[in-house]
Symmetry: C2
Subunit: 311 residues, 2 copies
């Protein structure tokens, strides 16, 4: 009993931006997931199809990120009609690019449009987070919020959730290099120390403070000097084959800085021109190819809009 | 053989601003120290007098903050004349208000003027730091740099020293409440943990990032939400009698936030009007008086100029 349908795009995102572990992320223009919803009158939530996931994502509506997000939203607003969900993954699972967050965000954005709920993004956030939770087993808004709002997003804290959109310098470009390595998010979490030396805390707070001020004042030199992570990168970079060489290639190609996207294996590099961003993609891909690994690269400005309707 | 002389004022400063432990400080219009220098032709460095220190500061030119700073500068530029130094302390020693930093800054600033060296503040910085080092036994620029440059100063890092002047919101006021308690900086350092839980690191970085963005965008609500220190304050506040009540009084009087200035015992509160700042001074002083302690309060905007010539 399909009535009307909607197709949306929701952007991938980079989280853990250098010294901004668990607090800072930004959205990308590409890649991103596509979600197609069809309204089903007097029916239930169902997952009609999933593509691009290599058969890995669950069709169980209590386990799939998109359906859990939609169910959370429908329950809250007591929507009694159903919906058929089509999930088209346009990026690798476990890429470090906020894949599950994009699907959850796309799902709630699409539902809001399809059912004309007129909810704000603030209203949608908790339901996208609920969807992402089933994939990551943790509430981390640093992928969900950038994907939903677009832009560079700071999560100040969680009690209550406090989201601040940070100015994006106008010439900022991001290069993603996604080498074909599998990293389990759980392993990337487990490898981190539980305690951090005070000296490292001072270094990290100095860098995150300067990075934020660099974004605010569009000071690329400051962004470059402060895009340094002394707490997480030393551990997680060990999980990425060739990390040091890839990073060096990015910096030699003109990157302002380079670090791990999310929990990897994708790496991101920032630059202040599209030309440099493209050169970084070329040079880092060359290094990864020489190591003997396949890879995908993306060059993108920071996405400023979040999800959008495609049809 | 005195020839000519100069009298300068160098401002006190607040360091360790909430989540900005060891990286963030700002200068005050008052209090501050006065330094008087007299040029001595073909002579040496000597300390002529020290007032306001209760007899505690050394006259040994290798141990006094002001003379060490001056000696460092004179050695560097091979100045063969001498100078007579008068140090007039206008704030308590060990107040947490960057007293030794102010004397060191005043000394190098005065010498630069007196000998017409035409050095920049960047040139003066290392010598002021050398002076401050003999007092604190550590290189911490978060009092010296604000006192020298004025404004809100971020120390991104020390290798090499990277100083960034942060925008001061135009209505920002600071109240200082300085209770008559003695805290040794060494004790205040020793009480701190060597390691910090990762969860606290995430909270602290979220708050310092938001505080900097609040200053940059003059967002007082954001400044208020983020002026929180989960790492240092829980330990050092125990050294300040009545800390919780004083802080509560400041917040109830309308403070955006309140924390420890430097390593205490002074506390600072930020507000967005002079009226509120004065009310905070009144209410916090009342609490300290009720505890049975003497106290001094100051109300000041952020000093934007650093040291200045008085005569």
């Amino acid at each position: 009993m399909s009535e009307k349908s909607i197709k949306v795009f929701a952007p991938a995102s980079v989280s853990n931006i250098g010294p901004g572990f668990d607090i800072l992320g930004f959205a990308l223009n590409e890649p991103g997931d596509e979600i197609v919803l069809k309204k089903l009158i007097n029916s239930q939530i169902e997952i009609a199809s999933i593509t691009g996931d290599g058969g890995k994502l669950p069709f169980d509506i209590l386990k799939n990120t998109a359906s859990v997000a939609i169910k959370s939203l429908m329950d809250k607003y007591q929507i009694t009609d159903g919906v058929s969900i089509e999930v088209n993954k346009k990026m690798g699972l476990g890429s470090g690019l906020g894949s599950s967050a994009a699907s959850a965000v796309g799902a709630v954005f699409a539902l809001n449009e399809l059912f004309e709920l007129n909810l704000s993004k603030e209203d949608l956030l908790e339901h996208a987070l609920a969807g992402e939770f089933v994939a990551s087993k943790a509430i981390h808004a640093d992928n969900v919020a950038p994907s939903l709002y677009g832009g560079i997003i700071l999560i100040r804290g969680y009690e209550p959730i406090d989201i601040i959109k940070i100015n994006t310098p106008k010439d900022l470009f991001c290069t993603i290099i996604y080498p074909d390595i599998e990293i389990k998010t759980s392993e990337a979490r487990a490898i981190l120390p539980k305690e951090v030396p005070m000296k490292s805390v001072v270094t990290q707070t100095g860098n995150i403070a300067a990075l934020i001020y660099g974004f605010a004042t569009e000071n690329y030199s400051l962004i470059s000097r402060s895009l340094k992570d002394v707490i997480v990168e030393p551990y997680r970079s060990k999980l990425i084959t060739g990390y040091d060489e890839i990073k060096q290639a990015a910096l030699e190609a003109g990157a302002l800085g380079c670090s791990i996207s999310g929990s990897g294996p994708s790496m991101f590099a920032l630059s202040n021109s599209e030309e440099v961003a493209n050169r970084i993609a070329l040079e880092t891909k060359r290094v990864v190819t020489n190591i003997g690994l396949a890879s995908v690269t993306y060059v993108s400005e920071v996405n400023q809009v979040g999800p959008k309707i495609l049809n």
